[in-house]
């Protein structure tokens, strides 16, 4: 873990550069500390898989002082016991309803062919696990969740679709994600959520933040339609 100055008013904290639950737990811990202790100086904070990028207000604090403050919190994170990192009481668990139907899960058959699993087994394997939000970006509200069971891990499609419908749930490698908007995309689509992940008219416009835990709740077609889902 180290703090690197990048520009007049930005720095990045680099953790161990391997994607893992442990690193994710450290990132969450330090994010919470920065938000709690340094909120008055922070303009933007972008936690990601193995780093936290921060831009800060030079009219309130000098570059040197801010770096020192972040170094202190980084030290504190380093000294937090593994058990405490893993049982972070402020960690949110969010349940997302998903209809894993073939008419919205365009690539279920392909994953079944590749993995040798039945579609039912794929759904169970995917929805059994609790995922971490490792990073958020690419588009507003696009959350990179990990990691999926290796049996259903499948590389990005060679030719991306020109349009993936809003709410589609996909897999790329060991990561899984929901498209918050209609957009082009190369992830393998296995289902769809009826809920809206991004709403610009809310104070907190996105459901997820980095560090949250996500559990997918399989729902029936009728439930999906009842909750406003579109086929």
């Amino acid at each position: 873990m180290k703090v690197v100055s990048l520009s007049e008013n930005t720095l990045v904290v680099l953790f161990d550069q391997t994607i893992s639950r442990q690193t994710a737990a450290e990132v969450l811990k330090l994010k919470q500390l920065i938000n709690k202790e340094l909120a008055e100086f922070v303009i933007d904070i972008i936690p990601s898989y193995t780093s936290i990028h921060v831009s800060f207000n030079l009219r309130k604090i000098s570059h040197k002082s801010f770096v020192e403050k972040v170094e202190t919190l980084t030290q504190q994170t380093r000294q937090t016991k593994q058990a405490d990192l893993q049982q972070n009481h402020e960690k949110n668990l969010i349940e997302i309803p998903v209809y894993y139907g073939e008419e919205v899960g365009f690539d279920l058959h392909q994953i079944a062919d590749k993995s040798g699993l039945s579609i039912k087994q794929i759904i169970q394997t995917h929805s059994d696990k609790i995922y971490d939000v490792f990073a958020l970006g690419f588009a507003p509200g696009f959350a990179y969740l990990g990691t999926v069971d290796e049996q259903i891990a499948i590389p990005r499609k060679e030719t991306p679709r020109l349009s993936v419908p809003q709410g589609s749930l996909g897999i790329a490698g060991e990561q899984t994600a929901i498209y918050p908007f209609d957009s082009p995309g190369g992830w393998n689509i296995i289902g769809k959520t009826p809920i809206k992940l991004v709403d610009y008219n809310q104070q907190s416009p996105c459901i997820f933040e980095v560090g949250d835990s996500i559990k997918f709740q399989p729902i029936s077609k009728s439930e999906f339609l009842k909750q406003g889902g579109e086929l």
Binding site: V4, E8, D44, S48, L58, R59, L136, F142, E209, V210
Partner: protein
């Protein structure tokens, strides 16, 4: 704001031009949701336009890219134009940039095209009265966020931008005044620019050899702004750095960061960039030098000079104080 007022005093867009966008200083504190900062491409010109009108630094303006813009004022007010000289006229008479102008009911402003530079800023007394979305009016087309209709749309013919008209009474009592930006503060958008940058030698950056090659090539091989430029980033051409041959794990990125993709042609990230990226970073361009880059058309020569954070900080703090930027 009442509907009546917005109909009474507004700027009516007749021709929107190439891309004209409503912009305030930007949308901050939202990047952890994947929402970009946006804001004016040329922050320096934008801030001066608000400054000479006595506006708040964050007052919404129109950013006109490359001209073709035409609009009519429904009530008297005062405006300021800064940034690229897109040959503005008021009722077909040429008017000067980097200063204020009083306008009357029915006046028509036009921007045709630029000799130098890309972005002109049209600011109005007290700013355009548009309701913010996620605490900013800045328009991000890619995110379908902000702008007049809160959907990220660029301005189009028929759009009505409300503003606060000067009352007739006030107009009678005060003489028209002009505020001009001091000559020494007006940049020249030249055919050749030098940008200061803070090199990034960390493990998510580049090694000293690559950074030295970047600096030397930018000076001696004629590094130029390519045709591939937009509000997200400016791709450079003319330097060919060896493939950094490493993928970094996606991390947060800021305006001014210089990414080095696999093809070896650096990209300087601008206001509408994505919030995370996975290319190694050569460094970050000095905040105050980005205004010059933003105004650089394809073909403009760019060279880079390495500096340290300490060389830039004082100047930037002074700039924020002068324009009273609070974040």
């Amino acid at each position: 704001m009442s509907q009546e007022m917005s109909l009474e005093s507004c700027l009516e867009i007749i021709k929107p031009g190439v891309i004209s966008l409503l912009q305030d200083y930007g949308r901050y504190g939202m990047q952890h949701y994947g929402i970009t900062n946006s804001g004016p491409m040329d922050e320096h010109a934008y801030l001066w336009a608000n400054k000479i009108l006595g506006n708040h630094f964050n007052a919404p303006q129109i950013e006109v890219c490359m001209g073709g813009f035409e609009a009519r004022f429904s009530k008297p007010t005062v405006i300021a134009i800064c940034g690229a000289n897109l040959l503005p006229t008021l009722n077909r008479s040429p008017i000067k940039t980097w200063q204020t102008h009083t306008v009357k009911e029915g006046d028509v402003i036009r921007f045709s095209g630029a000799k130098h530079g890309l972005y002109a800023y049209l600011a109005i007394l007290s700013g355009f009265k548009v309701e913010p979305q996620l605490s900013s009016c800045s328009t991000v087309m890619r995110e379908q966020l902000g702008g007049l209709h809160k959907n990220g749309e660029k301005l189009k013919a028929g759009d009505l931008l409300p503003y606060q008209a000067q009352s007739n009474k006030r107009e009678r009592n005060i003489a028209p005044y002009v505020v001009i930006v001091p000559e020494e503060c007006i940049p020249r958008y030249a055919d050749s620019i030098n940008l200061r940058f803070v090199p990034n030698l960390s493990e998510n950056g580049c090694d000293q050899t690559t950074i030295n090659a970047f600096i030397q090539q930018s000076i001696h091989q004629g590094c130029r702004v390519s045709n591939d430029i937009n509000r997200m980033g400016y791709r450079l051409q003319g330097v060919s750095l060896s493939d950094p041959n490493q993928n970094i794990i996606s991390q947060g990125i800021s305006t001014g960061f210089i990414q080095l993709p696999k093809d070896g042609q650096p990209i300087v990230l601008m206001k509408d960039r994505q919030t995370i990226g996975g290319y190694p970073l050569l460094g970050c361009v000095a905040h105050l030098d980005l205004a010059l880059l933003s105004q650089s058309k394809p073909g403009v020569k760019v060279s880079f000079t390495p500096v340290e954070v300490g060389d830039l900080e004082g100047e930037l703090v002074e700039y924020f104080r002068f324009f009273d930027v609070t974040y």
